[in-house]
Assembly symmetry: C2
Homo-oligomer: 442 residues x 2
């Protein structure tokens, strides 16, 4: 029973996701029509060059370079071009022309999300962006709707497949970072310039989007603390393994209270962290993504699946297109996305978590006691200390060798921890601070 006129769908961009979306819209036309209550007609695809060679079997008559003209005759505009401009102008034009917008553009959403939402609200339209975070995994809709009656406490996300592939390879095969990256590049998991992935920029954009949605607060991407994985060594990964942890690059969005000022706020941060092997996120292998959500009432939830890929991401885009189409058929304005809570964005210094500190120290009596007292002076409580086999370095006596101390703390503030580490580094018995890694999900 199709009671409604067909809806006109415009596609901007014909890359790997766009081509799959075009194919699915065409091949599943009748099925989609019965799910929506109206046909979805792909009326055109805006591209820069209509004659560029394409692998997907798309009707060439659909291609146009007149994006603005295409947008004006559409009910639903799908933006899959990426980048800030002209994507931003096109989306604003679409909203102002009365169309709903579906986009997978995380860079644009992280930078201009509130502007797009405001434009949509003003005209009673809606911007859908399930594909922007964690590819095929439904995470935007669950946060926006399923958990709308709950309070999110924390999100731990493996939201970048490239870095997860690299870290998983280092964990499973004992590879170095450089080797794992080379394989990731060869297999197409990493781009020729992998900076956006391995330095955490991509994950930071997703953290900004997730934090805004979870905490109803505008979170500029610049406010997301960001550390990449380029400093992670094979030795760290193997030591983590022995201690029952795995290293993952996490996007973390958290409601926190600054321990010094007592200010309530939000932390959004990206860094490599140790996760206990029994944690559900530890089982996320290869290029997969997963988002672990801790909510006040619902408890722990995890959403797992493909974080990238043309056809996988196209599934998320199509889901949004169906939602937009159903809203058109049903009538009524879109669901406004509010930032009513407007919480303070707190810096990394306000965060409290657990830490693993690895030190090379003189293998002399009293060293452990000296180190332990430094932790205690700064109010940092130690959970476990492990002293590894001393590595005797060209020494004539036992005491001229060095030992490795691995210390895991209870929850401590970033401030207290960094002061402790600075003091430790100053000690004569400390040869060097090998690494400081945060421990999450414990």
């Amino acid at each position: 029973m199709i009671a409604y006129r067909n809806l006109r769908v415009a596609l901007l961009g014909a890359g790997s996701v766009g081509a799959q979306v075009a194919t699915l819209l065409t091949e599943h036309h009748d099925e989609l029509a019965s799910r929506v209550g109206a046909g979805l007609d792909l009326i055109g695809i805006a591209v820069r060059d209509v004659d560029a060679p394409r692998t997907a079997p798309i009707d060439p008559a659909l291609f146009t370079t007149d994006a603005m003209g295409l947008i004006e005759s559409a009910d639903i505009v799908i933006e899959l071009m990426g980048g800030i401009e002209p994507a931003r102008s096109y989306i604003l034009h679409a909203l102002n022309s009365g169309a709903d917008v579906v986009t997978g553009n995380k860079a644009l959403l992280a930078a201009h999300g509130p502007e797009l939402q405001a434009a949509a609200e003003q005209v009673g339209a809606q911007v859908y962006y399930e594909a922007a975070v964690a590819g095929a995994i439904p995470i935007i809709r669950p946060l926006r709707e399923s958990l709308a009656g709950d309070r999110v406490k924390r999100i731990l996300g493996i939201v970048n497949g490239t870095t997860n592939f690299i870290l998983d390879k280092m964990d499973v095969e004992g590879d170095t970072f450089e080797n794992a990256l080379a394989v990731a590049t060869e297999l197409g998991y990493a781009e020729a310039d992998p900076t956006a992935d391995i330095e955490g920029y991509d994950a930071a954009q997703k953290a900004a989007i997730l934090a805004r949605l979870a905490f109803h607060t505008e979170v500029p991407v610049e406010a997301v603390h960001r550390e990449g994985i380029t400093q992670i060594t094979a030795a760290q990964v193997s030591q983590a393994q022995k201690a029952g942890y795995v290293v993952k690059l996490l996007a973390i969005c958290e409601r926190i209270t600054d321990p010094a000022s007592g200010v309530d706020g939000v932390s959004a941060r990206v860094y490599p962290a140790l996760i206990p092997r029994r944690h559900p996120l530890a089982t996320v292998h290869g290029g997969k993504n997963a988002v672990f959500v801790e909510a006040e009432a619902a408890g722990d939830l995890m959403f797992y699946g493909a974080g990238a890929g043309g056809i996988e991401t196209a599934s998320a885009v199509l889901g949004d297109v169906v939602s937009a189409a159903r809203r058109h058929v049903a009538g009524g304005p879109g669901v406004a996305e509010t930032t009513h809570a407007n919480l303070t964005i707190l810096p990394i210094d306000s965060v409290s978590t657990r830490y693993q500190i690895t030190l090379e120290v003189s293998d002399a009596p009293g060293v452990l006691a000296r180190i332990a007292s430094l932790f205690s002076e700064h109010g940092v409580s130690v959970e476990a200390v492990q002293q590894s086999i001393a590595s005797v370095e060209s020494g004539t006596s036992e005491s001229s060798g060095t030992a490795t101390l691995v210390i895991v703390t209870h929850v401590a503030s970033e401030r207290a921890l960094s002061r402790t580490v600075a003091d430790i580094a100053d000690q004569q018995v400390v040869v060097r601070v090998e690494s400081v890694l945060r421990v999450e999900g414990a």
Copy 2:
């Protein structure tokens, strides 16, 4: 900015979930109002006995025995009474009075889902039921909306926490079924009469609901093939462990083609099955639930979390209440849930999967060859055979003992497999067929 009049919310039932819903609606009133764009006022709670002792701190003035009167003055009715009647009549009355309905009543949805959906569609209202399957885990909304542009191929769900607790305990601690059940009862994971859980009735209701939603086809709960876990022995679990599997009770919904007739259709079934330990579902421990979805475009997705619990399930209910409320504020009819595909429900005989068959056989020459030829005669391809240490039984010569054969097949039809097993059981060299377990997720 609250522009809309407050919405009137009625609650039917004040059990563990209902009490938490009432508390959250009251405590989070302002927060919910800013998310919805309208206040949500709890106007009453229908109970059988207003004076019954209650642990939750709920304003006693809210309680009433006049459910029908309460329903008539509500915009949104939350049904958390359970059972078929009077829940069914109340819901129909609510829909006919113009209210949207939120329910967590899986028994009612499995038995009368299509009737309720039809009633809702007729008046332009909507029935929300995220809490009915897998407690706090968002799975209904992802299936109904996120995957609306995709095609679900198969769902493998751990949707019953009691049986997962029992099987996990058997796996981790080597417990017998009886012991594990006793502990589950003691800890409140199992009810005094555990039949609905351990015999798979509860999982079958959820399978019926998931299959209807995933395949747009009416699936009566009676059409769901159902086997419980009471026959699972400690020996089977330990043998599975050695072979790299774990036993889980699965609700499986699958698009299949009957190998004999070529008829395309749907299979919905519940049984204990072996899952490879590297499969994401294998990491679901204790009373947790998870739903693994294989979709044509999206690939593999998994949704993990708490499958039960008052406050956890209340989160799912509240998410639905917010959706219903936003729809009221936005206007327009609900999203009709269609069964337009109307596929044939195929019986268990039409299913094809992999199998593990454990046989006790005479430890004599030629036995393996004889068994292997029987598989081959029925067109069942064998993937692996493992012969365990022979158990010499009061024998005087080696050949009077018995051996255990564990055979894992490639994908075979249920029909061919059961014929093979019947033939094997007839062989003189076969002492007994110890178990036949299906292997899923491989």
